[in-house]
C-alpha cells in the first residue's frame, strides 16, 4: 500500500524533509509500524523519532494514536506537540 507522509515544524527541520510517498509491501500496518520503519533508517531519523520524543500523529488530517491502522492512500502526518494560540 501507499502512504503519503508529512512532517511539520521541528520534526520537518530535523529530518530535512516535509514529507514523502512511502510504498509499503505489507497491508494492515499501524502508525507505530511506520514509525519503526522510519527509525530503522538510522541517523537523524532515529534521533528525531526516538522513543524519548513526543511524536504526534494524524491520519487523514485527524489526530490519532500510534495504534491506528492505516489503509492504502492514507495521509499520515508526524509532528511535535502543538503550540498555537
Amino acid at each position: 500500500m501507499t502512504i503519503q507522509l508529512h512532517f511539520f515544524a521541528s520534526l520537518r527541520e530535523a529530518l530535512g524533509s516535509d514529507g514523502e510517498t512511502l510504498e509499503l509491501e505489507r497491508d494492515g500496518l499501524r502508525v507505530a509500524d511506520v514509525l519503526d520503519l522510519l527509525r530503522a533508517r538510522g541517523g537523524c531519523w532515529q534521533d528525531a523519532l526516538g522513543e524519548d520524543k513526543t511524536v504526534m500523529a494524524a491520519v487523514n488530517q485527524e489526530m490519532c494514536g500510534h495504534e491506528t491502522c492505516l489503509a492504502d492512500g492514507d495521509e499520515l502526518a508526524f509532528f511535535p506537540p502543538v503550540t498555537g494560540g
Binding site: F8, A58, F79, V82, G84
Partner: protein, 156 residues
C-alpha cells in the same frame, strides 16, 4: 459568515468582532479572547515569530472545536481567526470571539475554545531571539487547562 479563518495577513481583532456582532440585536454578550505576540518569552527578548500550520487539517481541527462548543452551549455566533507566517511583537496571533444572549455561555465557550485550540489545533511557533531561532515548547499548563473540559459535560 465563515466561523474559522487561518490567515497569513495581519488581522484586526476589532473588525472581526464587529462582523460577529453585525447588527444582530438579539446578541446580549460577546466575550473575546485576543492572544498577542509578546516581545519576551522564557527569559529572552523575541524579535520575530514564525507560525507554521498544517493546511487543511488546521482548518478542520478548528471547525471541529467550534462545532463542539456550539453543541455544548447555546450560542449566537463564534469566530476564530488565527495568524500564520511571520509575526512581529504586538501583532495579534489569535482571536476567539463568542456571542450569546447571556454572558455565562459566552465566557465558558470562549475559554473552552482557546484551551482546545492550544492543544488540538496544528500550529507551531518558532521564535527569533538574539541567540538565534528556536521552536516554542508545548506547555504542560495548556494540557491541564484542556483537561478541565473533558470530565465536565455541559458546564453551567
Amino acid at each position: 459568515m465563515e466561523q474559522v479563518v487561518v490567515t497569513a495577513e495581519p488581522f484586526d481583532p476589532h473588525v472581526e468582532t464587529e462582523k460577529l456582532h453585525g447588527e444582530n440585536p438579539s446578541i446580549g454578550a460577546i466575550v473575546d479572547f485576543i492572544g498577542w505576540m509578546r516581545d519576551f518569552n522564557d527569559g529572552d527578548s523575541v524579535s520575530r515569530m514564525t507560525l507554521e500550520h498544517y493546511p487543511g487539517m488546521t482548518e478542520k481541527a478548528l471547525r471541529k472545536i467550534v462545532d463542539e462548543a456550539l453543541r455544548r452551549w447555546d450560542l449566537l455566533g463564534v469566530r476564530v481567526v488565527h495568524r500564520v507566517g511571520e509575526l512581529k511583537p504586538s501583532e495579534p496571533i489569535v482571536l476567539v470571539a463568542v456571542a450569546s444572549a447571556h454572558r455565562g455561555e459566552a465566557f465558558r465557550a470562549c475559554e473552552f475554545l482557546i484551551d482546545y485550540l492550544k492543544t488540538c489545533a496544528p500550529f507551531w511557533k518558532k521564535e527569533s531571539t538574539i541567540a538565534g531561532e528556536r521552536w516554542v515548547e508545548a506547555k504542560r499548563s495548556d494540557e491541564a487547562a484542556r483537561g478541565r473540559w473533558e470530565d465536565a459535560s455541559k458546564s453551567s
